[in-house]
Amino acid sequence: MKGYKRVSLVNYLYIMPVLVLIGMIFIYPLIQVGILSFYDIRMGAQEGLFVGLDNYRLIFSEPVFWKSIKSTLIWTFCSLILQLIIPLGMAILLNQKLKGVHFIRTSILLPWIIPMVALAVSMRWMLMPGMGIFNEVLKNTIGTQINFLGSQSAAMPTLIVLNTWKILPFGTLLILTALQTIPEEIYEAARVDGANFWRQFIHITFPLLGKVIWFMGFLVLVWNFNTFDTIWLTTEGGPGHIMQTLPILVYRRAFKVFRLGEGAAIATIGAIFLIVVGVLYFKFLSPKRDNES
């Protein structure tokens, strides 16, 4: 143990590179985005003009911003619910004794690893009315077609399902890991006492999974809130602003309309929302290590 007591500065050199990188790409920009939101900066100009709260005043007065908030909330929470329930079911299914467990577990990771760009552009073809396979199936079964990405009512549910399909493996793997830590004896004891599948689930599995589910819920909520590729590459926020969530609005305002200051203000509002959610999570919902039952 002798080497362990000496805390030399040289030791810090090992973790310096990763810390510098985190500081440069995550921490500094987070502070900077707040500062930029008080300036009127156009794309291309180096220096902006300090305008105080003007960017915020402008944004709060725009109906398109409030519509965006609404879309963001619907998108985030509907995705969250699906992305908690479906992986739970999948993990319970895959936790059974199965043939080819390794192959199955590897295969279910597929949606998670394939690049979203490739999926999104191919999906545009598959979802197209009169051309894609999904509408072909609909036409042959119920005799009608849906303009999945092109109609205001269908775009949101369609993209929520697509996004859920992409994120499923993460939650499934996480819950599966947690399930495998529950000793089989507990279930055997419960079966001896005559508990059926549902009772076992509600009284054993669910309470023991609580911690993992809250952790996953938090991660998935933040990821959904930040989704960009899935939406931008399929509908660019349309049709008619219905999919214009905050990240899409930030991107459009900053890099399509070239008003960086206003984009930064919208980004800051999003960041504040996430910080509030984060603080609430760690204060009230975060698993406490000592009062585990």
Binding site: Y12, L94, P115, Y251, L260, A267
Partner: protein, 280 residues
């Protein structure tokens, strides 16, 4: 025993249904990338191509214009992804080794915060990163992308490698140090090779992150000769008349390397991920 058999049957049906849902889109994109245009734009032509053709691939590769130069885009992606993998391995193995072997003030918090980075909203950081890269003259360079992608993957890689290095017995290093080996020699000759499977996993993970990224590439790369493959593919859809065939072929060319690289290390990745997740 009857109920048990029914339960088994239901489980198997469930697993098969699940695999179909998971595998169908990619399988369908793959077979469709060999279909001629007439089959792509008409319904009722079936799952498999009736007249299989390589035309979509040849058109994508050989019909080139400055804004539609897919072979160059693929090479750009390869360059950026390999760069990212190298930097990530270097930075994460140093960081992981440091966190596993040395005592720091707040070491546990540091190790935990490696994962906390992943709740950072990257979209919201786009504007300041753009401004910063403007003053660093990194706009429209591949180096700029490599820096961002390394930052995106290095924290997770560091965290994964920390647990790998912890499994290597300290005695091995101590023995070498008694024999007079320097710290750098110990790290390069003993620890690094023993953590090889972890290092390969990390390299593949960071390669995949860089290979599939779109958002940062779309704002940082301005000239068409510098485009990465994801960006090139996305711009195909922006044209007036979308050529679905080359688009599907391009999707497959982007998906395939990821699958080929990932599946050999999948077991290792799941193990690392599960081992780490349990400690949370």
């Amino acid at each position: 025993m009857g109920t048990k058999r029914i339960k088994n049957l239901l489980t198997n049906v469930g697993v098969i249904a699940l695999l179909l849902i998971i595998l169908f889109p990619v399988a369908y994109i793959f077979v469709s990338s060999f279909k001629p245009l007439s089959e792509l734009i008409m319904t009722g032509t079936g799952f498999f191509p009736q007249k299989p053709t390589l035309a979509n691939y040849t058109s994508l590769i050989f019909v080139r214009t400055p804004i539609r130069n897919f072979p160059v885009f693929l090479l750009n992606s390869l360059k950026v992804s390999i760069g990212t993998a190298l930097f990530s391995v270097l930075i994460a193995s140093l960081g992981g080794y440091g966190l596993a072997r040395h005592q720091y003030v707040g070491r546990d918090i540091l190790a935990q915060s490696m994962l906390f980075i992943y709740v950072f909203p990257t979209v919201l950081l786009l504007i300041p990163i753009y401004k910063m890269f403007q003053s660093l003259k990194l706009i429209d360079t591949h180096l700029g992308l490599i820096i961002i992608y390394t930052a995106l993957s290095a924290p997770f890689c560091t965290w994964l490698l920390t647990s790998f290095f912890k499994t290597i017995p300290l005695e091995l290093e101590e023995a070498a140090s008694i024999d007079g080996a320097s710290k750098m020699t110990i790290f390069l000759k003993i620890t690094f090779p023993l953590a090889a499977s972890g290092i390969v996993t990390v390299a593949v993970y960071s390669f995949i992150i860089a290979w599939g990224e779109y958002m940062f590439a779309s704002i940082l790369l301005s000239s068409s000769k510098n485009r990465t493959a994801t960006l090139g593919l996305a711009t195909l859809t922006a044209e007036q008349y979308i050529e679905w065939g080359p688009l599907l072929a391009g999707s497959i060319l982007i998906i395939l390397p990821v699958i080929v690289l990932f599946f050999p290390v999948a077991k290792q990745f799941i193990k690392g991920f599960m081992g780490g997740a349990l400690k949370q």
